[in-house]
């Protein structure tokens, strides 16, 4: 493999890994803030236990999200320096804003929340978790705006002398429909993920008969959040698909493996095709559904891969403008499939919880524990689809991925760092999962050292979550 392929693999590994933790962080931040608020308002101890129990899980997850995020910001310069030179004038701005507006807020107020239990007035302490949560939201917004610009560059001119794209309209970059649609697709997905995490763990607590008083409430909170989120996700996903069809028709064509332009195009639920994905052998179709998804009209015309390839050759010169079609086809379906599977779980569990019931069924109840993995898979496939089906472009129509790689970094160096990051990430995943399982196994605890005069009163540090 050359340094380009290795750098692509490294980006894929570090980014998919990072994004396992990010949506849990965003979703859980708001859920924990909600539980904390419930405790603040009602003074009911079950809410305090829930805040601390899920707060611990949230922090264990947050730590890895933060540290793997540093790599994200550095690797553009390290492995993709030609890309960085080309886009820096535009792409750097949202990244810098993310740091100034979001990272400081997130880290500072989370520190205040973790260590502030007996230091801050209760209202300020509550405000600090909300501010930290807001920080995660702002962070997501800026990075999604930067990504949206790669999908659909706006507000720029191309400077041929300097061979780079230059910003002309920051407002266009930050408020274009691609950015907004992605934001309203990704954020509810994060809520969905955090909620599935909470629901899965709560279900396990109920099965193990640990603090059912608390767990029933958090299970319901998780399940309802999941159902509300999936509605928003579907809605914004629908809008995203239409925007995508207009802006990146090749991506939509690849998602459906639609080779020839056609009207009333069907959406296939299942295709068994030849291995290279060029022809289908067996297919179950929803008639006209693809046309509806991409244009809002059942009779709408959807452009096919072959026609787009010919069109792009005319527009951008000779070359292969077709992404990996089987990957696009399957990742698109797996994203949607896992999303709805999670929602189905939530619906069924909530149905069983009517009139004081609990999730039951020989398979169903134990399966609830695996609920968190469902949105994690949906998220990963969603991003794999979004990023790989844009190929060969790094920024659509402007710079190809192959032109973005660092010229001075050897394949050996990229391979070395890739192996090292992968090994390190693997070890961290192992440790993190171990810690999370331990927290779950312990279950919610009465925090005896919270405001316990026997331990020395207010001079004692409340180290429930601290170091």
């Amino acid at each position: 493999m050359n340094s380009l392929d290795l750098a692509r693999w490294q980006f894929a590994i570090t980014t998919v890994y990072h994004f396992l933790f990010v949506p849990i962080t965003i979703g859980m931040a708001f859920l924990v803030a909600g539980l904390h608020t419930a405790w603040y308002r009602t003074a009911k101890l079950k809410y305090l236990r829930a805040t601390k129990f899920f707060g611990k899980l949230f922090l264990i997850n947050f730590a890895i999200g933060v540290v793997t995020g540093i790599v994200q910001e550095f690797q553009f310069g390290m492995n993709w320096s030609s890309y960085s030179r080309f886009v820096g004038d535009i792409f750097g701005a949202p990244l810098a804003m993310e740091g100034l507006l979001a990272f400081f807020m997130e880290s500072t107020f989370l520190g205040l929340w973790i260590f502030g239990w007996d230091r801050l007035p209760k209202k300020l302490h509550l405000a600090s978790i909300w501010l930290a949560a807001t920080g995660t939201l702002l962070s997501a917004y800026f990075i999604l705006a930067a990504n949206a610009w790669m999908q659909h560059p706006v507000g720029y001119i191309y400077n041929a002398t300097k061979h780079r794209a230059e910003l002309t309209d920051i407002k266009a970059v930050l408020t274009q429909n691609t950015a907004l649609a992605t934001f309203f697709h990704t954020i509810p997905s994060a809520a969905f993920t955090g909620a599935a995490f909470m629901a899965g763990i709560s279900a396990w607590l109920i099965i193990k008969k640990k603090d059912a008083e608390m767990a029933r409430g958090t299970l319901k909170l998780g399940l309802i959040t999941m159902l509300v989120s999936i509605v928003v996700i579907s809605f914004s996903g629908d809008i995203t698909a239409r925007i995508m069809t207009k802006q990146q028709p090749m991506k939509m064509a690849a998602a459906e493996a639609l080779y020839n332009t056609q009207d009333s195009a069907p959406f296939s639920l299942l295709t068994i095709g030849t291995l290279d994905g060029s022809r289908s052998v067996f297919q179950i179709d929803l008639p006209s559904m693809l046309s509806f998804m991409s244009t809002g009209n059942f009779k709408g015309v959807v452009e096919g891969v072959n026609d787009l390839q010919a069109k792009y050759e005319k527009q951008y010169g000779a070359g292969d403008y077709t992404p990996n079609i089987p990957m696009a086809y399957w990742s698109f379906r797996l994203m949607i499939g896992f999303g709805f599977l999670g929602a189905l779980f939530a619906l069924l569990a909530l149905w069983q919880m009517r009139k004081g019931g609990t999730p039951k069924g020989r398979w169903f109840a134990p399966a609830m524990i695996f609920l968190p993995f469902i949105p994690l898979l949906a998220n990963s496939f969603g991003w794999i689809f979004t990023e790989t089906a844009r190929q060969p472009w790094a920024v659509f129509g402007l710079i190809k991925t192959s032109a973005g790689v660092s010229q001075v970094v050897s394949a050996g160096a990229v391979l070395f760092t890739m192996i090292a990051f992968t090994a390190l990430y693997g070890i961290l995943a192992f440790i993190e999962v171990g810690l999370i399982l331990k927290v779950i196994k312990n279950g919610p605890t009465e925090e005896l050292d919270y405001e316990d005069p026997a331990l020395g009163g207010s001079d004692q540090q409340n180290l429930v979550m601290s170091y």
Partner: protein
């Protein structure tokens, strides 16, 4: 002042913030095994960093992001050129962050010892490597115009390990150890405070020798003597002496202020020596990256200036407020059950 100069200044400010703040984090991380005699000590030492280290590290992320936005050519050449040192720094920062968060979760001695070693190594490496990296930037590294027209680093890894750069690494390493010791003596009580003060005395001296030699070398190797750089270098030395004197008479607050001022002036010296270059080439001035040929457009710089002017004071206020909230000294006696990890607390599990 042009927007380019403004951003050169702002990036210098971000690095100053980063080195003052994470500088003491690194120092404390390295001193953890040496100022502590028992588990309660170690917990107390870590608690001084707990609420603030993550916010301190954000200064680096913003410095990186700001360089990307304001001087993309600098960001691209530097990060791809200094590939392996940056990789080592990244790995350290990953391990370190996780180590802080996880080490006290369990009470098991072996678990904690391993994380303590991780904290030590992952604090030492970046403290050393940042000095090596900055000294190389100031000294100039082999930069050439590539076929693509961009200025690229052509030196390889070993080129970065020259004597001047290594001395720069020793300077940041010893300055951060001292700075961390001063911070600890300010933030702790009892025996930790005494030990930290003693370490600050010793390393203050070593750092002084290293820093003075480094600054002399820097001044002598500039193409022409810059009076401002010379004056700043002298200010670095004076602040350091003042800081060490304050440490000696145990005026800990003042000692910390002076060691922070030393770092501020030291970084300012380096950036002043660079200006208006951002990455000089050792192969000829025509290959220098400067604030002009490395910068973004005026429009981008203007947008970013507006954001920075509004946000930086706000950030300083709330980050400063955090330090105020946690201003109390931490003592080992405050740690109720030092040997108990949060996840060991199974005895109170609610059964229903």
């Amino acid at each position: 002042m042009t927007f380019q100069s403004t951003w050169f200044l702002l990036i210098a400010v971000l690095w100053i913030g980063y080195f003052i703040l994470e500088g003491f984090d690194f120092g404390v991380g390295m001193l953890l095994p040496f100022v502590s005699r028992n588990e309660a000590d170690r917990r107390a030492v870590l608690t001084t960093l707990g609420p603030v280290w993550d916010g301190n590290e954000v200064w680096l992320l913003v410095a990186g992001g700001a360089t990307f936005a304001a001087f993309p050519e600098w960001y691209a050449t530097l990060f791809s050129g200094f590939y392996l040192p940056l990789f080592l720094i990244l790995v350290s920062l990953i391990v370190r962050g996780v180590a802080f968060e996880y080490r006290s979760k369990y009470g098991k001695a072996q678990w904690r010892q391993r994380w303590d070693i991780a904290i030590f190594v992952s604090s030492l490496l970046p403290a050393l490597l940042w000095g090596v990296a900055f000294a190389n930037i100031v000294r100039g590294v082999p930069l050439e115009k590539a076929a693509s027209g961009s200025i690229e680093y052509t030196g390889g890894f070993l080129n970065l390990l020259n004597p001047y750069a290594l001395l720069g690494g020793v300077v940041t390493l010893t300055v951060f150890i001292t700075h961390g010791a001063v911070f600890l003596s300010l933030k702790t009580a009892g025996t930790i405070r005494d030990r930290a003060q003693g370490i600050a005395k010793l390393f203050g001296l070593i750092a002084a020798i290293a820093a003075v030699s480094f600054l002399l070398w820097t001044n002598l190797s500039l193409p022409e003597i810059k009076p401002v750089v010379l004056v700043l270098s002298i200010a670095v030395a004076l602040f350091w002496v003042a800081g060490m004197a304050m440490n000696f008479i145990r005026r800990e607050g003042w000692a910390f202020i002076f060691s922070a001022l030393t770092i501020l002036t030291f970084v300012t010296t380096l950036f002043t020596a660079l200006y208006p270059r951002v990455m000089p080439s050792s192969l000829g001035a025509q290959f220098d990256l400067t604030i002009t040929n490395a910068s973004s457009t005026q429009y981008t710089l203007k947008v970013m200036t507006v954001v920075a002017v509004i946000m930086t004071p706000i950030v300083l206020i709330y980050q400063g407020w955090t330090y105020w909230v946690f201003r109390k000294r931490v003592s080992a006696s405050q740690i109720a059950h030092p040997e108990r990890g949060v996840l060991d607390q199974v005895s109170h599990t609610l059964q229903q």
